[in-house]
């Protein structure tokens, strides 16, 4: 049974590496993390209406749908340059799930942000057209959000 206890040790070691030593955040770091998470929550808030319509939980209304989709488009246009300062990744700071990789792959992050802009613009047109086209635009939009989360957000603890 020696091999097993070795494996358990190895597993404990890997787990130890995973949980970084957290420093307490300073006020500025706290506020910037809250701000960017707020932007994400606003995406989710507007998607709530579009998704509700897509699922049939909320009756389809072209004007309301388009207003929510336009808000998504506006949200993608916010200046992000001050929302992601160095030292605010999940290895260095508390209360965030942003992976350090996000800072090492700026080009790819830009590409994923652009993909979201395009998907949101497509939703803006689709949502005002018909329920069917709104439903069709949900998948690509979800793919754009998920594509970035898959690469740059740590799993929930």
């Amino acid at each position: 049974m020696k091999v097993i206890s070795k494996c358990v040790l190895a597993a404990a070691f890997v787990t130890g590496l995973g949980s970084a030593v957290f420093a307490e955040n300073d006020a500025a770091t706290d506020s910037v993390i809250k701000a960017r998470q707020g932007q994400m929550q606003l995406y989710a808030h507007n998607l709530g209406l579009l998704g509700g319509m897509a699922k049939g939980a909320v009756p389809y209304n072209a004007d309301a749908a388009k207003a929510a989709a336009s808000s998504l488009v506006l949200l993608t246009q916010l200046d992000a340059s001050r929302l992601w300062p160095q030292g605010s990744d999940e290895m260095s700071a508390d209360n965030t799930r942003a992976l350090p990789d996000l800072w090492d792959n700026q080009d790819d992050v830009m590409k994923k942000a652009m993909a979201l802009s395009e998907a949101a613009a497509a939703m803006e047109i689709a949502s005002g057209t018909s329920l069917e086209s709104l439903q069709g635009a949900m998948g690509p939009l979800g793919g754009a959000c998920g594509g970035c989360h898959k690469a740059y957000r740590a799993p929930e603890n």
């Binding site: 097993i4 890997v14 995973g18 998704g51 979800g142 740590a154 929930e156």
Partner: protein, 296 residues
Amino acid sequence: MKRPLRYGVLFGLLAGAVGWWATAPERVPEAQFAALRGDVARGEIVFWAGGCAACHSPPQAEGTDRIVLSGGRSFVSDFGTFYAPNISPDPEHGLGTWKTGDLANAMLHGTSPAGQHYYPAFPYTSYARASPQDVADLWTFLQTLPASDIPSKAHEVGFPFSIRRALGGWKILFGGPPRILTGNLSPEAARGRDLVEGLGHCGECHSPRNALGGIDYDRWLGGAPNPSGKGKIPNITPAKLDWSETDLVEYFTSGFTPEYDSAGGEMAEVVQNLAHLPLADRQAIAAYLKAVPAVE
């Protein structure tokens, strides 16, 4: 990209002690499979349900690159690093010279054409629940995909885990029952069972494992620690997952949760695959998840 081994089942190599005599690789009856005719359209559904692209597409592949099955993704475990091989139709570096029966031996028995055991990093313990016709359809579809001449990478596995023969004992111990959820099911939930227990291999991630790496079928889909050491793979039985069937179908289609957060981690990749299935199949998966016993 290094990925922790989700199918971290290799503790079971110890089970080689079960005996060399019992560990000869199993095979399917060759004539039966040679007689089957596959259907490309059905094969594509099998392909997305099985999530082959999640492991066999090139690392970081997106969009149409996901169907070039040149392999190369790595799966790290305590026993070494496994690399998904090239399974494109290339005659030299892929499966170009294979027959239906070869794919059937690989998926249904974890046995290679040369008669060796595959490592369970390839989730054949779940794929074993697929039907012979599923395999024939999939084989027809795989042959329509682009060929890639990128050679497969050798696994970096040390002794004694490098002895494939020893895997036979593990297979005997952990093959699992043909069906996990039994009893009367609606046709929809029964289709969901085929997808979740078999091709979808959902239990490989969502069920806890025992000390030797075998799935704990008493806690089927009851959640598991994430082998990466961070977070947990969620419990998706009715004890914890209270989403409506409509919410589940939306999640399997766009990746949005009922709170409009989006699926993360490896589930994002799973959703990319499920989104290719017909709506009725995603509804069947949702119906099955409502029917499994709650695991507290």
